[in-house]
């Protein structure tokens, strides 16, 4: 164990594609072994944060450190489950081959995949109950099964940090359970996980801590701290109904609260 060194340390991170910043001055520190959810409206930079932690996008300003090491030198410590929409499902690749990709990071380019690598890939498929589909092309699976294949790839990678981009979007109940199950087991074995999540209703139930994002970091803390009406109304604006249902309050009351909170908000409203 790395002791007090945080698993993920982000300092003053700013990332932009073109003139508008996708992320602005984000600083946060995630201790090892936590299961952290990232919430925020569409286009709020959630996926960009994941890609920055992966080292895939270069920050304009700021640094990302994994276990005290700059992300560019910490390759292979992070496994990643992509958003379903970003995968080419027609790519000629089978379920087993995708799981095996999890082992690529442990090999130099001249080394062949060993029997052990295949065994680890197969075991990962077993853990997500996809063994019987290992010869299928990935496009010939249901949405939930596709999600589980990429979970298996991340497991085969055996990284210390797992990043998941909307794993629960559009999956069936069985897959949701099996993903949660895998996440819980991964946390028990000391892994740190950051999960982009869209469903505010389940956010409190699933995660140890939440990051509320909309370009800037609006809040980072326990679900109770983050899921408060004032903050959410500020970030989600048009989506008040969602948390009205969440808070179990009548929508009129929530709208009223939100209006007064927006009017009285001080510009420097960072909460953490």
């Amino acid at each position: 164990m790395a002791g007090s060194v945080p698993a993920i340390q982000v300092d003053n991170l700013t990332v932009s594609y073109g003139p508008v910043p996708a992320l602005l001055d984000i600083s946060l520190s995630i201790p090892a072994g936590q299961l952290v959810g990232v919430i925020g409206p569409n286009g709020s930079g959630k996926s960009t944060l994941i890609k920055a932690i992966l080292g895939f996008v270069k920050p304009d300003v700021g640094t990302v450190q994994l276990f005290g090491e700059d992300v560019s030198r910490a390759k292979g410590r992070v496994a990643y489950v992509p958003q379903r929409g970003s995968v080419d499902w027609d790519f000629p690749v089978t379920v087993r081959e995708v799981a095996l990709m999890g082992r690529y990071g442990n090999k130099r380019w001249w080394q062949d995949m060993s029997r052990n690598d295949y065994a680890l890939a197969d075991r990962a498929l077993e853990q997500v109950r996809m063994s019987e589909f290992s010869k299928r092309q990935i496009g010939q699976l249901s949405g939930g099964q596709q999600q589980r294949v990429f979970m298996a790839r991340a497991l085969a990678q055996d990284a210390d940090i797992l990043l998941l981009d909307e794993p629960f979007a559009g999956v069936d109940a069985a897959t949701e359970r099996s993903i949660l199950d895998v996440l819980t087991r991964a946390r028990q074995s000391g892994k740190t996980m950051v999960v982009v999540h869209h469903d505010l209703e389940t956010a409190a139930e699933y995660f140890d801590a939440l990051i509320l994002l909309k370009q800037r970091l609006y809040a980072y803390g326990t679900p109770e701290q983050v899921l408060n009406a004032e903050l959410l109304s500020e970030v989600y604006e048009g989506k008040l109904r969602v948390f009205a249902a969440l808070a179990g309050e009548p929508i009129d009351q929530v709208l009223e609260d939100a209006r007064s909170s927006v009017l009285s908000k001080n510009k420097n409203g960072d909460v953490s």
């Binding site: 390759k75 292979g76 000629p92 690749v93 089978t94 081959e97 690529y104 380019w109 990678q157 109940a173």
Partner: protein
């Protein structure tokens, strides 16, 4: 065809070089083509090919004006390579530095560079120095290849094939998921450069076969055919190489027979093969698609067939009996049975069918849906004689969430209104699964994992093993027996608050 091969063998030695060059070139083109179509770079490879005209003219003029050498093939091909690389560099510069998208950037840059070549040829001051047949480069001419082309084809093959084999994983993963590739430290950008470098190389070697306009067909058409045929990249590459070489030989022969130019003939063969694949490919072809649609059977009929086999008293059920019990048109029932056999849910022998293990599970899952719907309808006050018919329609709404919800609302009934047993939950209810104690039935053994508020003080605690007694007071009270013999009684809401791991589940056969 045979005579023609003997003809080459005896005395037609001038065909040996074109055939070797053509074979090597179509091999490398179709191998690299696999990555090009998967990365959607077809247009870029076309652009590289066109831009090469400027490089050819440049190389020609340089050797002619500086050294007085006429039509130096090496310089022209090197010029072509350079022009290709410059095109790619300019395209990535424009897309990176501005909001212009890649297809537009490609369109601008390759026409611009092609035009430089065309401009130079048409200039009086330069044009008078140009005596080579630029036509060879525009439509290609494999017949006239000589030693330089042979060398180039050999060198390109010696570079490209080992690179693809050595860096197969890198090429595969950066094409499939560049984000992951970067996260495990693969040099994504370097692999991109390697691929565009290889593309320029194969285009240069292919230009002499098919010309700048048609060379892209040597690259992408065999790969596209292979893509429709195979589900694994490694197989697709081997197939693409075989198709590419096959189409070269076929086209070459076609050109000889028809007395035509080989370049277009090779491309026609490739396109023809692609059209055949498009129609006849076993999985992704139009015919397969059409057949699948033809054989598509409504899910409802399949479920009815499973139900009728399960309800029968015999293990092997005669087909005639199934036909009688399922009230749908016979041909549809017959294709439903065929489809269930293919899905491995039914076995068939001598005109009789039997449920497989998986089929039995599926059928019991449907039976559970049916009986829970009946119980629910009964609960809602539906008249008894309408129960079965209504439930029969509703049982096709059998997704886990709906059924589990109804099951919970009804207090996990054990029997339906007719007194038949309702099969238990099939998704969670397996050994080592964690479920709420309310799902437990007589005889099940389980270990208590955790207890929520509602069941605190019931005498259960985490870690103890319990077995289940029959439910009492009209199915409203759950009775668990702990390992030290104590009986614990729980109401529905309390049983819901106890989470257990199943140790022993006697699933009925």
């Amino acid at each position: 065809m045979m005579e023609w091969l003997t003809e080459i063998h005896q005395g037609q030695g001038h065909l040996i070089k074109p055939l070797i060059v053509g074979t090597l070139v179509s091999l490398v083109c179709s191998i690299v083509g696999c990555f090009i179509i998967l990365r959607r770079l077809s247009f870029l490879s076309d652009a590289i090919a066109h831009a090469m005209l400027a490089g050819v003219v440049g190389g020609y003029l340089l050797m002619k004006l500086a050294f007085g050498v006429e039509a130096h093939v090496g310089a022209m091909l090197l010029g072509a390579l350079l022009a290709g690389v410059i095109t790619v560099a300019l395209v990535s510069f424009v897309t990176g530095a501005s909001r212009i998208k890649q297809d537009t950037a490609i369109g601008i840059m390759y026409t611009g560079i092609f035009a430089i070549g065309a401009f130079a040829i048409s200039m009086k001051a330069l044009g008078k120095h140009i005596h080579i047949d630029i036509y060879h480069f525009i439509v290609g001419s494999v017949i006239t290849v000589g030693n330089p082309e042979l060398w180039i084809a050999g060198i390109v093959a010696a570079i490209v094939i080992p690179l693809v084999i050595m860096f197969y994983r890198e090429l595969q993963l950066t094409s499939f998921d560049p984000v992951m590739a970067a996260s495990i430290g693969m040099p994504v950008l370097a692999v991109d450069y390697m691929l565009t470098g290889m593309t320029s190389l194969v285009v240069v070697s292919g230009v002499r076969i098919a010309g700048v306009i048609l060379v892209v067909a040597l690259i992408i058409t065999p790969a596209a055919s292979a893509y429709l045929l195979f589900d694994k990249l490694s197989r697709m590459i081997v197939a693409s190489a075989a198709i590419g070489v096959g189409c070269f030989w076929g086209g070459f022969w076609l050109a000889r027979v028809a007395g035509a130019s080989p370049g277009p003939a090779i491309v026609i063969t490739g396109t023809g093969f692609f059209m055949l694949t498009l129609v006849f490919a076993p999985h992704y072809g139009l015919l397969a698609d059409w057949r699948r649609r033809l054989h598509a059977v409504p899910q409802e009929i399949k479920e009815d067939v499973l139900g009728s086999v399960l309800r029968s008293d015999e293990e092997w059920v005669p087909l005639t009996q199934v036909m009688r019990n399922v009230s749908s048109p016979r041909p549809l029932v017959r294709s439903a049975i065929g489809s269930l056999i293919r899905q491995d849910l039914l076995d068939q022998e001598n005109g009789k069918v039997k449920l497989t293990m998986q089929g039995r599970r599926e059928a019991r899952r449907l039976l559970r849906a049916h009986r829970i719907w009946e119980t629910y309808l009964d609960h809602m006050g539906t008249p008894a004689r309408e129960l079965h018919g209504q439930a029969h329609k509703l049982e096709h709404l059998n997704d886990e969430r709906t059924i589990d919800y109804l099951d919970d609302k009804l207090g996990h009934p054990l029997t339906d209104p007719h007194g038949s047993e309702i099969p238990e939950d099939f998704v969670d209810f397996e050994e080592l699964e964690e479920v709420r104690a309310s799902l437990l039935r007589k005889g099940n053994r389980a270990e208590v994992i955790r207890i929520e508020e509602a069941a605190r003080g019931s005498g259960l605690h985490a870690g103890m093993t319990v077995s289940t007694e029959p439910r009492s007071s009209d199915g409203q009270t759950w009775t668990l027996v702990t390992d030290d013999g104590r009986q614990v009684q729980l109401a529905h809401h309390q049983a819901d608050a106890v989470f257990v791991k199943l140790i022993q589940v006697d699933q009925k056969p």
